[in-house]
């Protein structure tokens, strides 16, 4: 549990200086709980169901295009659910409801940050991505540019983001399984790694999409039931919920307003930028736009995704407050030694899980535990698929073979890359078991907003952008995001064990500097680039613009 707790605690510390200490004491390495048979059975049902779907999906995955985009036939509504399934992680379900449980209003501020990236994608990116791209976001970014340097950069940007995001998920899975199922850390690593590989390897994008849709429906359904149970308990009066919560919560009325949250406006804005623009640079999310048939469906996808994710955050807020009110009625079951001052059994992030028990008994507890674990599986599958595509489509087919490769060979490379990434995920999960990985999701967002996003944005929307400018700017953004994050307190002090106060980067997030630097370097280098290649690239802009704005010539769903 420690790691998940730390993930949430430190991601919040990033948004919010001081919240980490308020989020509750670090309980150290999580201890294995008694084996929860109901939860394991429910999870097994989920796995068998999804593997059965994978078997069906495998019959539809014959070409590389099927593997990357599920044949391009996913509807906007389905894709919206799948995107939500890709994005709503165990950390956001357990972590945000846990934050609300501990701090009330502050949890709401935190969750809003994770929603604001979606309008940016809707208004600026969705249809252009669909119109210009085919399989990966590198297709879009390298549309009129020199393929080798740009695709190499995009593949590196993809893999770096995928690996950091994946480590956080794998370590979270290991800690979670001890508490939810009462099984060992290692069991989680092997389970997640093996099942995820089966989804991606045999079912490609079709299986991954359906796993994400099913998980999203289960998570939204379960959370809706819990929120309704809470509202029923208080007679459907939010005021009554807040009255009861402030009466029993240790912080009393302070939970109704902002707490220690934002102390330093630069960090607050910087984190806001990372979340807002980082979402538009996450390769596994961008890839989902190529699974729909046209720009219309691409727009609908994001609108549905935004709706489900926003709805989900409102539910977690109600669930957090509900846990404050309802768990206290049975301290012996939910609190350590039945003593409220000692905190929840299993730590603060267990608020939603205990509430599931309180409102729906052991069976529903098993269901929610299974859903929380299945959530990680779906996210890791999406990440692996995206990483594998970067290797097979961008590095192998485009950079190495210069596009002269048949679909069967490319598909074989996709599957090889999936296997390699699957074993890498297991190895990293084991290697980082005892490490503090709290900063990694935020680092992934910072790199996405400083490397991938500026390159994508400028290549599509700025006519004077050139290969040299894009690669130079993207590289500067990626490196600066990584270096400055290492210098911030959350890594320099908490991970590298330097003395408190010695961190040389004073803010919680690098994004405001690294993203600005990336845009500046792209601008300056492109402006200075007067090579023949640069002239050619600028001359190609009008044709690119017509395709990106109208969809004329856009790649269509592959036919069978």
């Amino acid at each position: 549990m420690t790691h998940l707790q730390r993930i949430v605690a430190a991601v919040s510390a990033v948004v919010i200086a001081g919240l980490a200490c308020a989020a509750g004491p670090d309980l150290g390495q999580s201890t294995r709980q008694t084996t929860n048979v109901t939860a394991i059975v429910m999870f097994a049902v989920f796995v068998f169901g999804t593997l059965w779907i994978t078997k069906w999906a495998a019959s539809k995955t014959r070409t590389a295009a099927d593997f990357y985009t599920a044949g391009g036939g996913i509807s906007g509504f389905q894709n919206g659910l799948a995107i939500a399934g890709d994005y709503m992680s165990a950390a956001s379900f357990l972590g945000i409801s846990g934050l609300v449980f501990a701090n009330g209003f502050d949890g709401l501020i935190f969750s809003i940050g994770w929603l604001v990236g979606w309008p940016v994608i809707t208004f600026l990116m969705a249809e252009r991505l669909r119109n210009l791209g085919k399989f990966t976001f590198a297709d879009v970014a390298s549309y009129r540019f020199s393929q080798t340097p740009l695709r190499t950069f995009a593949a590196v940007g993809t893999l770096v983001v995928v690996v950091f995001y994946m480590i956080a998920q794998m370590v979270g899975a290991g800690q979670l399984i001890k508490i939810l199922f009462g099984l060992d850390y290692m069991v989680a690593e092997v389970l997640v790694g093996a099942i995820m590989m089966m989804y991606v390897l045999f079912g490609g994008m079709t299986a991954t999409t359906w796993v994400q849709i099913i998980k999203a429906v289960m998570l939204l359904g379960g959370a809706t039931f819990m929120a309704l149970a809470v509202l029923f308990h208080v007679g459907f009066s939010p005021e009554a919920l807040f009255v009861q919560a402030t009466e029993v919560h240790a912080k009393k009325d302070a939970i109704m307003g902002p707490g220690a949250l934002i102390k330093d406006p630069v960090s607050a804005i910087s984190v806001g930028m990372a979340l807002m623009f980082g979402t538009a640079g996450l390769p596994h999310i961008l890839m989902r736009f190529f699974t729909v048939p046209n720009a219309k469906e691409a727009r609908k996808s994001v609108a549905w995704a935004t709706t489900w994710i926003g709805y989900f955050y409102i539910l977690t807020f109600i669930i957090g407050f509900g846990a404050i009110v309802m768990l206290i009625q049975d301290p012996v079951t939910f609190y350590v030694d039945g003593d409220i001052s000692k905190g929840l059994k299993g730590g603060g992030n267990m608020a939603a899980v205990h509430l599931a028990n309180a409102v729906g008994g052991n069976l529903f507890l098993g269901f929610i535990s299974a859903v929380a674990f299945a959530t990680i599986l779906a996210v890791v599958a999406g990440l692996t698929l995206s990483g594998a595509s970067a290797v097979s489509h961008d590095l192998y087919a485009s950079v190495w073979r210069k596009g002269n490769v048949d679909s069967v060979t490319e598909l074989r490379w996709s599957k090889g890359a999936t296997l390699a990434l699957g074993f890498l995920a297991i190895a990293l999960g084991i290697a980082f078991e005892k490490e503090n990985v709290a900063y990694m999701v935020m680092l992934a967002f910072t790199i996405a907003c400083s490397g991938n996003f500026p390159v994508l944005f400028m290549s599509v929307l700025w006519k004077d952008c050139t290969t040299k400018g894009a690669v130079a700017g993207g590289t500067v953004g990626l490196l600066l995001a990584t270096i400055l994050t290492i210098g911030s307190a959350s890594v320099w002090e908490s991970v590298l064990n330097n003395p408190a106060g010695s961190a040389w980067f004073p803010y919680n997030s690098a994004a405001i500097f690294s993203m600005t630097a990336a845009f500046l370097v792209i601008y300056i280098v492109s402006k200075l680039d007067n090579s023949a290649q640069a002239q050619k690239e600028r001359a190609l802009y009008p044709a690119q613009q017509i395709r990106s704005e109208t969809g004329v010539g856009a790649s269509t769903a592959s036919a069978h």
Partner: protein
């Protein structure tokens, strides 16, 4: 990737340039509204905590921050749908007619 006849005719059509300008300024307007709502909320948290912690009515426990916070979420969702509805109907119709003209 070379420009073909249809693309050349689209580019030559003044309606296309006007259409792109119109849709882009709408996208930017919506992006600015979304960013204003979020950063406005964050800056309120940073600089005026008392305002958010104030009660919605005398004697109530619900604070002003709750409807504002939930409001930012609902506003974000609504903004997205408003854009998508217009883009999927009006803008796509214009787009289709520009392409039709070019293909004649």
């Amino acid at each position: 990737m070379q420009e073909n006849d249809v693309q050349a005719r689209i580019r030559a059509n003044p309606r296309f340039q006007e259409f792109v300008r119109k849709r882009n300024s709408y996208s930017i307007l919506m992006s600015v509204l979304g960013a204003l709502a979020y950063y406005g909320f964050i800056l309120l948290v940073a600089f005026d905590k008392e305002f958010l912690a104030a009660k919605v009515a005398p004697g109530a426990v619900t604070s002003v921050g709750i409807p504002i916070g939930i409001g930012v979420i609902v506003f974000t969702i609504a903004l997205t749908w408003v854009y998508v509805r217009r883009a999927n109907s009006e803008f796509d119709d214009t787009n289709a007619s520009i392409i039709r003209d070019a293909e004649k």
